[in-house]
Symmetry: C2
């Protein structure tokens, strides 16, 4: 029975290893997992079979595409439809699928670990669904829920689009491929498209635009909010604070973004100036949803006015919900900062909302995330201005799109030399893994101080 014990104990100890890795530094684990997946997909995309001309793709383009897919960004340096073979496109789609699941799972695990450590009120994840006693069991059931929710949502979108593409005259095989590709790309907020013109040929086709907008918006709310919606329905009062803040802020940004975008582009003949009013409104709504993270476009980004580009920069930077496939600094981060400023303006000691106090620690995490995001964007912009000698409008747009894993593009990515592509690659990676892990790592470090220094207040402002 000696060898048996060894097998058993090594099995147990490897379980313990994974569990202790999750417990000791979940943030580090997340970064490591993403690095491994990215490396694998880079190798796959460098295979000659992945490109349509049968030649190996250079490292910087393969790495860029792998990171863009796994981090569900959607920026491209080569045309997805033209450069890659069917195998290559399938690799990209698999990258999006795994990257999307990985993002949801890891972010959810991190949120779970944080909420356990800090004894957070209001269940963030349906914890009762995973009361399996140990962490590995929890991770397993979390992954199961994430996969089933994703697959159901993607199947609905895929079926809908399949039928539509069929009626538009595609062959069943084509329609199925396009339906599945858009469904996965949409629900994971990836923004990759299998058509060389993207969605532009369908710019008046509500049968295609509406499911994509809806799927992208729901996907951008994040997994914890989706679970609340599934369990509690639309009874706002019964939601936890996180769901309330996320949905409210998402809708607010959606509406304000659409109104401003529409007003700014209303008379621009290069974009929507010549369209009918209903079409203008649809385009504005679509642009607002897409800017927040999905990254499909109906108009040429270079044709937008400078002020619309700046507005889009802001919407991209804001991003979507926590533990979603959307990027950016996340809407709850903005909500918490906004509420803190409101409390300050009212002179309140506590940051209060919906009969709850938001702990000061959460506020400090929010500020750290915002400042980190701003710093990464600033450094990335400085570097890329230097490398590309392009205008600030275009550089800032591409940098924020990469950092916020949005994928809207003026086409700058493809024009850059290799070192510029590496800069954007790093921005996409940091944007995807950085904010999430930073926020979790910070929240997990919080501890009580045993002794206090006397207070002294510098003059501010």
């Amino acid at each position: 029975p000696a060898p048996q014990r060894t097998v058993l104990s090594s099995f147990v100890s490897s379980r313990n290893l994974v569990e202790s890795a999750i417990n000791s530094s979940p943030a580090r684990l997340a970064i490591l997992a993403f690095l491994l997946i990215v490396t694998l997909f880079t190798v796959l995309l460098m295979l000659p079979a992945a490109s349509s001309n049968g030649q190996s793709t250079p490292l910087h383009d393969a790495l860029f595409t792998a990171v863009s897919a796994v981090c569900v960004t959607g920026l491209t340096v080569v045309s997805t439809a033209d450069h890659w073979s069917f195998f290559g496109q399938a690799v990209i789609l698999l990258g999006i699928f795994i990257g999307g699941l990985g993002t949801l799972t890891l972010a959810s695990i991190l949120a779970l670990v944080v909420s356990k450590k800090l004894g957070v009120r209001g269940k963030l994840i349906a914890q009762e669904a995973m009361n399996s006693g140990n962490r590995l069991g929890e991770v397993g059931s979390l992954l199961r829920i994430v996969i089933s929710v994703s697959l159901v949502a993607e199947a609905i979108i895929a079926l809908w689009l399949f039928v539509r593409f069929l009626t538009l005259g595609e062959t069943p095989a084509q329609a199925a491929w396009h339906g599945v590709f858009y469904a996965i790309s949409t629900f994971n907020n990836a923004g990759f498209t299998p058509h060389s013109d993207g969605l532009i040929p369908y710019e008046f086709d509500l049968w295609i635009l509406v499911p994509i907008m809806l799927g992208g918006f729901v996907g951008s709310l994040g997994f914890p909010v989706m679970l609340v919606l599934i369990k509690k329905g639309l009874v706002f009062r019964t939601w936890n604070l996180h769901a309330k803040l996320t949905v409210q802020m998402s809708l607010l940004l959606l509406v304000v973004g659409a109104i401003l975008w529409g007003l700014m582009e209303w008379d621009n003949v290069k974009t929507i100036g010549t369209l009918s009013t209903p079409d203008k409104i649809v385009h504005a709504l679509f642009a607002s949803v897409m800017s927040r993270s999905l990254g499909f476009n109906l108009v040429d980004m270079n044709a937008m006015t400078s002020d619309t580009m700046l507005l889009t920069d802001m919407l991209m930077f804001a991003g979507g919900g926590s533990a979603s496939t959307a990027g950016g600094i996340k809407v709850t981060t903005i909500a918490v900062m906004f509420l803190a400023i409101l409390a300050e303006a009212r002179g309140d000691e506590d940051v209060k909302v919906y009969g709850r106090t938001i702990p000061p620690g959460a506020m400090r995490v929010a500020i750290s995330v915002i400042v980190m995001g701003g710093t990464i964007v600033a450094v990335g912009t400085l570097l890329l201005l230097r490398i590309s000698h392009e205008s600030l409008d275009r550089v800032l747009f591409e940098v924020i799109s990469a950092f916020a894993t949005c994928g809207l593009s003026t086409g700058l990515s493809g024009e850059l030399p290799a070192e510029g592509k590496y800069v954007l690659t790093i921005l996409m990676f940091f944007g995807r893994v950085g904010t999430v892990t930073l926020a979790a790592a910070l929240a997990l470090r919080e501890r009580r101080t045993l002794y206090h220094f006397p207070e002294e207040r510098p003059i501010i402002g």
Copy 2:
């Protein structure tokens, strides 16, 4: 004795009126005072006698120049040397002088009121110098100190420059006028220049550049820090927290700004590319000091690379010390935010530095100031992009220069239509009065909460 009593009591009641105005809403009083001064100087500058061609200057140009002078910004829509008569230039100089004193006095009073209300440790202003029992006495002695320190500093700079301009061949009258103009413009961080080419003819003249850099740097530290320096000398250990943070952060920004500016422009033949290494270093140092608030320039802002422009944007936005004539969001605001993030990264409950705890309220004020600054800049940029159809590089630069009352310019101010000038005028006014009064108003509103809601923490990042 009846009339006598009336005079006496009305005198007393008017004193009470002023005192109660200061006590009840010092922020509102500050805004009102600046509006009055600006109106007066606009009227003066619209007089035909103020312009060199004897014609009345249009409202938008006169208002812009008055606000630029009183808010010690230094942006111009017409050439100070060519458009204005000697009388007009004297009005501008008086505007700078009064605006500078007003800024220092009001900001110091606000800091004083805040520190009294909150019972702040570590004297912010040399309060013992003004123990006159009531607020009006305090204001009087504060004003006395501000004026005497300013006059002494300005006299030193003026004398130095007077001698230098004499040796350069100017007549005594010219040299005196230029010396006095530059001294007041420098120490108040105003950046107006009586020469049509500004300081460019003196770009290798250290006898002129060094006193201007030193004067501007000391002026940008702020009045509370100057008082500490005067009383305690250079013994860092004995300074209060505000002085420590201000001087440290100012030096850090100065050095980092100079190094980055120098590296970015090193090979740019349109700016410093053709100069000797020592001259390059002087230019980089000068540019770093000037970007933070003074606003003189030795190179054409349009000739700088895009990345240098963005770096300058950041330095301008940061600005100088609190209760100084420098603008921006202020260095202590940045220091407090930075320390809060550092504490968060360490997992500390308290924000600690130099054996002191910075109260959470101060952190919230800092964040409010930063977000307000960012919002004003964003809205101003969107508006001006729309009005001017210019590139983001130039628009952002001019907007931040106005908001941070820096005065560096790509020349966009002068090219704008009237409504664009009004936008910049409002930005200068908000930049000057907004951050200071907002910070004070917020700090004064702080109150203890009597009941607390249960805590609930949304997911962040």
